[in-house]
Structure formats: structure tokens, C-alpha cells
């Protein structure tokens, strides 16, 4: 038994390093999407203290809109632009109708308001697009669907091209967001608002503008993850679960830390995959990915209640 837990998995890893790389790669693909989603949570939380329960349904809604528009005969790339437009309008409406009237209310009220947004979007999505599963328009978007075969250590590593695309696009988005947050006026304003509302107002930052902006960014993130995840799992309301995967990331990385979201997302993506393959499947009958991240987060919190990056002094980008 001890051997199975502490020795055999590592022997396996060393015996087949190409397979280990395969596992890590798959973990990376999920991980970067978790990181992206967590980033969406963090930006909204930092600028408005709202835990955005609606992030998951926004993924679904973005993917449904994209696929739905395409089904109406709109060219794929125009669909992307239109969907971005829809996400922008959604951000404006949410700010106007939900956030602005509720400003100054306790956090829990705002949280419940995002549950309201979730239910509303579920209803709206079903009315407009119907509840049945759909296929992501992967090829139509020009995302290659073949595989790349590599031969590290004389073994075999299969990288699906759509995963490579997802990783590249997600990574670009993450880097772009970091540059935006650190180098631009609006980005500085977002960070500032997260640190101190009053001070932010006093230097001329408009709450409303920033809120629309962060919700729109969350919408862009929703679209990108929706495409990437939808390409693997199909487009349905079940896509929502990817947002729940961001919860342990936030527990680990902290609700306010951008660095924490990125590193936490990558870590959880890779660790849950490693655990599933080397421990979960042989010892626990598999399917550990549904709960592993939460347990990991709980264990870490047991020893570091402030999370991995929970010290305020740490430079929060």
C-alpha cells in the first residue's frame, strides 16, 4: 500500500517521461483556462468586492451566443466580434441595472445579485438558444484540429492543435491583461480601485467606467474559455463547471491576487491531472479531478490560512 502511494507513481513517472510530459501538458491546458477564469473573478472582486457567481454562466452564454450566431449564417469571425459586442452590452447593463443601484450595500447582497444574474442568463440563454447541446465551431474559426506528434526521450507526445491554440491564446490574453493592468491608465485605475475606493475616487477614477470595464474583461475571458472548453466538451450549460474549477484556485491564490490566480490556476491544472493519472486511477478508481483541487486547497489552507499568496505586502500586480 505505502509502496503504491509513495514509490510506484514516481517510478512510473521516471520510467515513462514522455507520458509524464503528456500528463503535464494536458494539465497545463486546463490550468491556463482555470487561471484565466480566476483572473476574471479577481478583477471583479478587487474593483467591487463582488464575488461574481455569474462567471460560469457567462462562459456558457458567450459560447452559446457565438455558436447561435453562426447557426444563423453569420461568418465565424464576425460572430466573434458580435459576441464581444454582446458581452460588452451585458457589462453595461449589469453595471446600470444591478451594480449601480446596489452600490454601498453589504457584500452578501451584491453576491446574491450575481446569483440573480446567473438565473437570468440561464433563462435568457434557454429562450434564445434552446437547452440542447451544440458543437463548438472550432474549424470555422480557423482553429486547427490535427495533432502534433513529438518524440521526447524516444517516446511519444501528442499535442492536439486546438489545445496548442487554446494555450497560446489564453497565454496571450493573460500577458495582455498584465500589461494592461500595469502599464495603462485604465489598468492602474483598476488596481487602484481594488486597493482603496475613496482614494481612487479622489484621483478622478469613475467607479462606473471601471465596473463596465472589468465586467467586459470577464466577458472576454468567458468567450475565450468558452471556445477552448467548448471545443473539447461541446457547448451546453454544463460548461459552467469550468468556473467552479476556479474556486479552489481562488482559495489557493487569494481573491485579490492576480499573480495568485495565474500561478494557482496552472498549479491546480497540472496537479489534478498528475494526481488523477498516477494516484487516482490506479488507487481510487479515477474521476478524482472533480474533487482533488478542493481537497488540495483545503489542505493548503490548513497550513497557510492566508492562502499561498495571501500576504498583503506582496506586490499585488
Amino acid at each position: 500500500m505505502l509502496n503504491d502511494i509513495f514509490v510506484a507513481p514516481f517510478v512510473d513517472m521516471f520510467a515513462a517521461p514522455d507520458f509524464l510530459m503528456q500528463v503535464l501538458w494536458e494539465g497545463l491546458v486546463s490550468g491556463i483556462l482555470y487561471a484565466l477564469i480566476a483572473l476574471g473573478f479577481v478583477l471583479i472582486y478587487r474593483s467591487s468586492r463582488i464575488f461574481n457567481f455569474a462567471q460560469g454562466i457567462m462562459v456558457v452564454f458567450a459560447a452559446l451566443t457565438l455558436v447561435g450566431l453562426h447557426a444563423m449564417g453569420v461568418p465565424a469571425w464576425i460572430c466573434i466580434l458580435l459576441t464581444l459586442g454582446v458581452m460588452f452590452v451585458l457589462a453595461v447593463v449589469i453595471e446600470r441595472v444591478v451594480l449601480r443601484p446596489l452600490v454601498g450595500q453589504p457584500d452578501i447582497i451584491l453576491f446574491m445579485a450575481t446569483i440573480g444574474i446567473t438565473l437570468f442568463l440561464i433563462g435568457l440563454g434557454e429562450i434564445i438558444f434552446g437547452g440542447e447541446n451544440k458543437v463548438m465551431i472550432t474549424e470555422e474559426l480557423g482553429i486547427p484540429t490535427g495533432s502534433v506528434l513529438l518524440e521526447p526521450f524516444g517516446g511519444l507526445l501528442i499535442l492536439e492543435q486546438k489545445d496548442i491554440t487554446a494555450v497560446i491564446v489564453a497565454a496571450l490574453l493573460v500577458v495582455g491583461l498584465l500589461i494592461f493592468l500595469n502599464k495603462t491608465r485604465m489598468g492602474r485605475a483598476i488596481r487602484a480601485l481594488g486597493d482603496d475606493h475613496q482614494a481612487a475616487l479622489s484621483v478622478g477614477i469613475s467607479l462606473q467606467t471601471i465596473w463596465v470595464l472589468v465586467w467586459f474583461i470577464a466577458g472576454i475571458i468567458a468567450l475565450v474559455t468558452g471556445i477552448a472548453w467548448g471545443a473539447r466538451a461541446g457547448v451546453s450549460f454544463a460548461l459552467e463547471v469550468i468556473a467552479y474549477k476556479a474556486l479552489p484556485v481562488l482559495m489557493l491564490g487569494g481573491l485579490e491576487s492576480i499573480t495568485g490566480a495565474i500561478i494557482g490556476g496552472l498549479m491546480i491544472g497540472m496537479l489534478e491531472k498528475l494526481f488523477e493519472i498516477y494516484w487516482g486511477q490506479p488507487l481510487l478508481g479515477g474521476n478524482t479531478e472533480t474533487w482533488f483541487a478542493f481537497v488540495l486547497a483545503l489542505i493548503v489552507l490548513l497550513f497557510r490560512p492566508q492562502g499561498l499568496f495571501g500576504e498583503r505586502i506582496i506586490e499585488r500586480v
Binding site: G176, I179, F180, K183, T184, R185, M186, R188, A189, R191, A192, G194, D195, D196, Q198, A199, A200, L201, S202, V203, G204, I205, S206, L207, R312, I313, E315, R316
Partner: protein
Amino acid sequence: MKDLKGYVTADGRQIGGVLMEMRNITLKFGGVVAIKDISFDVREGEVRAIIGPNGAGKSSMLNIISGFYTPSEGEVWYKGEKRPPMKPYEVARQGVARTFQNIALFEGMTVLDNIMTGRLTHMNAGLVSQAMWWGKARDEEIANREKVEEVIDFLEIQNIRKTPVGRLPYGLKKRVELARALAAEPSILLLDEPMAGMNVEEKEDMSRFILDVNDEFGTTIALIEHDMGVVMDISDRVVVMDYGKKIGDGTPDEVRNNQDVIDAYLGVQH
């Protein structure tokens, strides 16, 4: 007091016309009347103090000027025009900068980044060019950096430029907050108890900075201060508040000899 030309101070500075005027301001919080029918003005180039015991309504008044509170009654006039109800960010964009009684800084950001946010009202480059770090955005950034460095030199905080604000001692935080407000090159600078909680030496430094700002940049300053000695030293005219009412208004000497003011202050320890 109502002349438009202004006046000359005891130390020979020319004070200009009215820059900001509060007319019959009343502010209520539910049943509590925090400010009751107060009028006063602030003139171009002046150091104007608001003093009074705790709870007199001084901070509330500053909050009204900076748009954080909306008065229940009364008008705010700024640069000769009646100001419509405005949000704080709109007021800031009109050239009103401020500090807070309980320091409000961006704790996770460096001193430099904090002060840079003071320049937000001066940045106009479009989002795309900002993101791409293009021509106009880059020129703007460079110009803003220069202004910020100037402020940093002025307030003698060069050695902490890269320090996260959260690590600074109280006195320095107050100074960084002043720096951020100054970086906005405001038409009027509002300071809510800039010297509260400081030791004598720090108070002297801060007094000197405030006077230097007024002197070198000609910035109009309205400040709240508890320490009577300091107020008398640095301000040109003083408004005295007590329980939401104005009980005195004039030069430090006039105010010092005002019986109502003496009475109000006898009831309070200083």
C-alpha cells in the same frame, strides 16, 4: 470680504478673487444635522483653514467640496459658476485634489505608482494606443513621469520611490498622500488634518511643505487642522465651526479674539 480683487496678506502675498464659494450649506444624515447653513469662500492663492472641535462637521464640509457628500441644501460655486451635483471623480477632474483624515493610499502599490495615479486626470491617450504604448500615450507617460518626479523631489521622498506604501511609517504615508494630490496640479488642494498624529518635528516639516506648495505653485489650499498653533502660523483666513455651525471667520488674529471661538475651545482640551 466681498471685493473681487482680493487682498494682500500680512506677509505681502497677493490673494486673488473667489475660487470656491459655499453658500448656505446644510447637510443632514437622517435626523443628525452635521452642517447648518454655513457660507464661506476660498480665494485664489489663499491658505484657508477650517477649525473646530471633533464632530463639528469639518470633514463633512471637505467631503461636500470634493463631491463625496451631496449637501441637503445650499450651493457650491466654483470658478464663478454654480456647480451641479457631481460625483467625486468629476470634481477631481475639475482640478480639486484632496487628502483624507484617515490616510487613503493604495497600500499594495509603490510610492511612485501611488503618486502616478494623481496624474490620472491628466491622461487622455486612447485605450488602444495606451495598450500598445504608442506615440501619444508614451509622450504623455513621459511628461507625467517628469511631473511626478518633480513632486517627489519637492517633498523629499526620493529614497522611498520604489517602496510599497504599506511598509511606510505613518508620517511618510501622510506625505505620500500629499504628493499624490499635488501630482494632479490641482486648482484647489483640500487637506483633512494633514498633521494629525504627527510628532512636533513631522508637523514642522508638513507645515513647511504646505507653505512651500502655496508659495511656489501658487496653489490654493483649504485645510482642516486641530492644532491651533499650527493653524495660526500657516493660514491666511480661518473658518471656525462648532456643532455644525459657523461661529467665526476671519484672519487668525480676528478669530483668536472672537469670544464665541474662545468659548467653544474652552470646552475642549487641546
